[in-house]
C-alpha cells in the first residue's frame, strides 16, 4: 500500500457542539460513546474516494483537524491554535442547532481561521458586521453542519432550518443538519452523504486539480448520473464489485 495524497480539513466550532462526535462518525462510521473535552487539537483520518464511480476514481486521505476551544479564549490560546491553521484545504463549521450563540460565533471562527495571515489585533468582528466580500473572495471551500437535530421539536424545526439556511448562504457554503449519535443521517446515498462527498471532492479539486485546468467539466455530471441511477445501494457492493485502482499517483 503506497501512500495516498492528503488534504487537510479543519473542523471548527464552539465547545460542546459535537465536533468530536461528528469527526468520529465521519471517520470511523461509529457513534462516539464517551465524548470528553478536546484539549488542543485532535486529528482523525477518513479515506475518501474522489469521483466515486467514474473512471477517474482515486482514493485520498482526508485529515480532519478538530480544534478545541472557544472564540472567547485568551489570546495566548488563540496564538497557539493558529499553528494548526497552516495550509488548510477546507473548513467544516459546526454549530449546535439548539444554541443560537454557537451559530453566531461561526463568523468569528471562520475569520480566525481565514485571517491567520494577518496580525491578530484582538479586534474581532461582531456578528452584525462581517464582510460578505471576504467570503465571496475566499478560495477555501466551506461546509456548515448543524448538530443535535433530534433535540429540536417538530414544531420549531422549520424556523430553525430557515435560520440555518441563511447562515449557510452567508458563508457561500452547503449545509447539513444531523444528529451525531445516529449514523443513519449519513447513510450512503442519502442527500447528506451526497453533499458531504461533493464537499470533499471540491476540496480535493481545489487542492490538486485547479492548476491543471478543466478536468472538472465532464466528471461531475457523470458522477451525479451514477448516484441517481444507483441510489442507496450499500457500500459493500460498491467496494466488493469493483477493483481497487492502483494507488500510485504519477
Amino acid at each position: 500500500m503506497a501512500s495516498l495524497d492528503r488534504v487537510k480539513v479543519l473542523v471548527l466550532g464552539d465547545s460542546g457542539v459535537g465536533k468530536s462526535s461528528l469527526v468520529h462518525l465521519l471517520c470511523q462510521n461509529q457513534v462516539l460513546g464517551n465524548p470528553s473535552w478536546t484539549v488542543g487539537c485532535s486529528v482523525d483520518v477518513r479515506v475518501h474516494d474522489y469521483k466515486e464511480g467514474t473512471p477517474e476514481e482515486k482514493t485520498y486521505y482526508i485529515e480532519l483537524w478538530d480544534v478545541g476551544g472557544s472564540v472567547g479564549s485568551a489570546s495566548s490560546v488563540k496564538s497557539t491554535r493558529a499553528v494548526f491553521y497552516n495550509s488548510v484545504n477546507g473548513i467544516i463549521l459546526v454549530h449546535d442547532l439548539t444554541n443560537k450563540k454557537s451559530s453566531q460565533n461561526l463568523y468569528r471562527w471562520s475569520l480566525e481561521a481565514l485571517n491567520r495571515d494577518l496580525v491578530p489585533t484582538g479586534v474581532l468582528v461582531t456578528n452584525g458586521d462581517y464582510d460578505r466580500e471576504q467570503f465571496a473572495d475566499n478560495q477555501i471551500p466551506l461546509l456548515v453542519i448543524g448538530t443535535k437535530l433530534d433535540q429540536i421539536h417538530e414544531g420549531k424545526r422549520h424556523e430553525v432550518l430557515t435560520r440555518t439556511a441563511f447562515l449557510a448562504e452567508d458563508f457561500n457554503a452547503e449545509e447539513i443538519n444531523l444528529d451525531c449519535t445516529n449514523p443513519r443521517y449519513l447513510a450512503a446515498g442519502s442527500s447528506n452523504a451526497v453533499k458531504l462527498s461533493r464537499f470533499f471532492d471540491k476540496v480535493i479539486e481545489k487542492r490538486y486539480f485547479l492548476r491543471e485546468g478543466n478536468q472538472m467539466t465532464l466528471s461531475p455530471i457523470c458522477w451525479q448520473m451514477f448516484s441517481i441511477w444507483i441510489p442507496g445501494f450499500p457500500d459493500r457492493k460498491r467496494f466488493g464489485g469493483g477493483t481497487l485502482k492502483s494507488l500510485h499517483y504519477d
Partner: protein, 454 residues
C-alpha cells in the same frame, strides 16, 4: 416618613437587581445562550439583596433615614437573604445537576429534593464543632442559620484573601517572569506539529486497515460488555489486534500533543506578560507589586501574632488612627465629626473593592471552568458563594467600624461570637497564604526544567 423610606429602599433594590442582570448578561454569559431565565433571576436577586446589606451599613454610618425603618429593613433583608442562600439556591443547584444526568431525568424533582435534604444535613452538622452559639437560642432561629453561613463565608473570604495576597505580588512583579524567547516558542510548536504528524500517519494506517477489513467482510467490534471482553481473549482477527495496538500508541501520542499544546499556550502567555511589563502600565504594576508584597508579609505577620498571643483587636482602625494623631502627634480636631466621615470612606472603600474583586474573580473562574452543559450549575454555585461572602463581610466589617455604629449589626445579627469569626479568619488566612506560597514556589520551580529538557 416611612413611606418615603420604603420607596427609597425599594428603588435602590431595583437598581441593584438591574446591575446584577446586566453583569450576568454582558460579562458572565456573553458566550452562552441563556435558556433558563430562572438562573439569571436568582443571580440578580442574590446580588441585589447582598448589595442592600452594604447599603444599609452605609446608611447607618451616615445616619440617613429613620432609625426604626433601617432596623426593619435590616431584619427583612437578612431573612430574605438567608432564605435564598439556604433554601432556594441549593435546591436549584441540585435541580440543575440532576437535569444534566440523563438517567434521572424523569424524577428530577424527587432527586433534587433529596439532594437538598443532604445539603441541609451537612449544613446543620457544620455547626457542631464550632463554639459559635450560646445555648439559649431555638432550633430554627436566624442566629443558627447566620452562624453557619458565616462560618462558610468567612472560610471562603480567608481562602481568597490568602491566595490573593500571595498571588497579587507574584503576578504583578516582573522579577518572577521566566525568560521566554521566540525561538523557544518556535521549537515547541515544531514539536507539536511533529507529534500531530505522527498521530496522523498512525491514523492513516488504522483507517486503511479498517477499510480493507470492511471489504473483506470482517467487522472490527470494540470489546464491549463483559461477554465481549471474554470473547476477545479467545478469538480475535489479526486485523483488529493490529488496530488495538496502534490505538494504544495513538492514545499516548495524543496525550503528548495535549501537553505540548498547553505548554505552548503557557509560553505565549508569558511572552505577552513580558511585553506588557515593558509598557508604562506594566512598570506601574510592577512597582505596586513590590508594595503589595510588603503588605502581604505584614498581614501574615499580624495574623501569626494574633493567633499566637490570642488577641483580638478591640478598637477599629479609624478610632485607633484618630487616637494616635490626637495623642502622639498633638493635632486637635473634632473627633466625632471626622470619625463619621473617615469611617464612611474607609468602609466604603472596603465594600467597593471587595465587591469588585469578587466579581472579577468569579468571572475569571467561570470562564476557566464552565462549558455549555455545566454553565447553569456553575453560575448558581457562584451566586451561592457571592451571597455567603457578602454576609460574612458584614460580620467582619463590624470590626472596622467605631463602636457606635457596631450596635446595629450586633442587634440585628443577634448574639454571635464575633471574636470567634475573627480568629477563624486569621487561622484560615494564614493557612491559605502559606500553602499558596508553597504551591507557587513549586509551580515556578517546575516550569523552567520542562523547557530545558530536549
Amino acid at each position: 416618613m416611612t413611606y418615603i423610606d420604603n420607596s427609597i429602599f425599594f428603588l435602590l433594590q431595583i437598581l441593584f437587581f438591574g446591575f446584577g442582570w446586566l453583569f450576568f448578561m454582558r460579562q458572565l454569559f456573553k458566550d452562552y445562550e441563556v435558556r433558563q431565565y430562572v438562573v439569571q433571576v436568582i443571580f440578580s436577586v442574590t446580588f441585589a439583596f447582598s448589595c442592600t446589606m452594604f447599603e444599609l451599613i452605609i446608611f447607618e454610618i451616615l445616619k440617613v433615614l429613620n432609625s426604626s425603618s433601617r432596623y426593619f429593613h435590616w431584619k427583612m433583608n437578612l431573612c430574605v437573604i438567608l432564605l435564598i442562600l439556604v433554601f432556594m439556591v441549593p435546591f436549584y443547584i441540585g435541580y440543575f445537576i440532576v437535569s444534566n444526568i440523563r438517567l434521572l431525568h424523569r424524577q428530577r424533582l424527587l432527586f433534587s429534593c433529596l439532594l437538598w435534604l443532604t445539603f441541609m444535613y451537612f449544613f446543620w452538622k457544620l455547626g457542631d464543632p464550632f463554639p459559635i452559639l450560646s445555648p439559649k437560642h431555638g432550633i430554627l432561629s436566624i442566629e443558627q442559620l447566620i452562624s453557619r453561613v458565616g462560618v462558610i463565608g468567612v472560610t471562603l473570604m480567608a481562602l481568597l484573601s490568602g491566595f490573593g495576597a500571595v498571588n497579587c505580588p507574584y503576578t504583578y512583579m516582573s522579577y518572577f517572569l521566566r525568560n521566554v524567547t521566540d525561538a523557544d516558542i518556535l521549537a515547541l510548536e515544531r514539536r507539536l506539529l511533529q507529534t500531530m504528524d505522527m498521530i496522523i500517519s498512525k491514523k492513516k494506517r488504522m483507517a486503511m486497515t479498517r477499510r480493507t477489513m470492511f471489504q473483506k467482510g470482517e467487522v472490527h467490534n470494540k470489546p464491549s460488555g463483559f461477554w465481549g471482553m471474554i470473547k476477545s481473549v479467545t478469538t480475535s482477527a489479526p486485523g483488529s489486534e493490529n488496530l488495538t495496538l496502534i490505538q494504544q500508541e495513538v492514545d499516548a501520542l495524543e496525550e503528548l500533543s495535549r501537553q505540548l499544546f498547553l505548554e505552548t499556550a503557557d509560553l505565549y502567555a508569558t511572552k505577552e506578560r513580558i511585553e506588557y511589563s515593558k509598557t508604562f502600565k506594566g512598570k506601574y504594576f510592577n512597582f505596586l507589586g513590590y508594595f503589595f508584597s510588603i503588605y502581604c508579609v505584614w498581614k501574615i505577620f499580624m495574623a501569626t501574632i494574633n493567633i499566637v498571643f490570642d488577641r483580638v483587636g478591640k478598637t477599629d482602625p479609624v478610632t485607633r488612627g484618630i487616637e494616635i494623631t490626637v495623642n502622639y502627634l498633638g493635632i486637635q480636631f473634632d473627633v466625632k465629626f471626622w470619625s463619621q466621615h473617615i469611617s464612611f470612606i474607609l468602609v466604603g472603600i472596603i465594600i467597593v473593592t471587595s465587591i469588585r474583586g469578587l466579581l472579577i474573580t468569579l468571572t475569571k473562574f467561570f470562564y476557566a471552568i464552565s462549558s455549555s452543559k455545566s454553565s447553569n450549575v456553575i453560575v448558581l454555585l457562584l451566586a451561592q458563594i457571592m451571597g455567603m461572602y457578602f454576609v460574612s463581610s458584614v460580620l467582619l466589617i463590624r470590626m472596622s467600624m467605631p463602636l457606635e455604629y457596631r450596635t446595629i449589626i450586633t442587634e440585628v445579627l443577634g448574639e454571635l461570637q464575633f471574636n470567634f469569626y475573627h480568629r477563624w479568619f486569621d487561622v484560615i488566612f494564614l493557612v491559605s497564604a502559606l500553602s499558596s506560597i508553597l504551591f507557587l514556589y513549586l509551580a515556578h520551580k517546575q516550569a523552567p526544567e520542562k523547557h530545558m529538557a530536549p
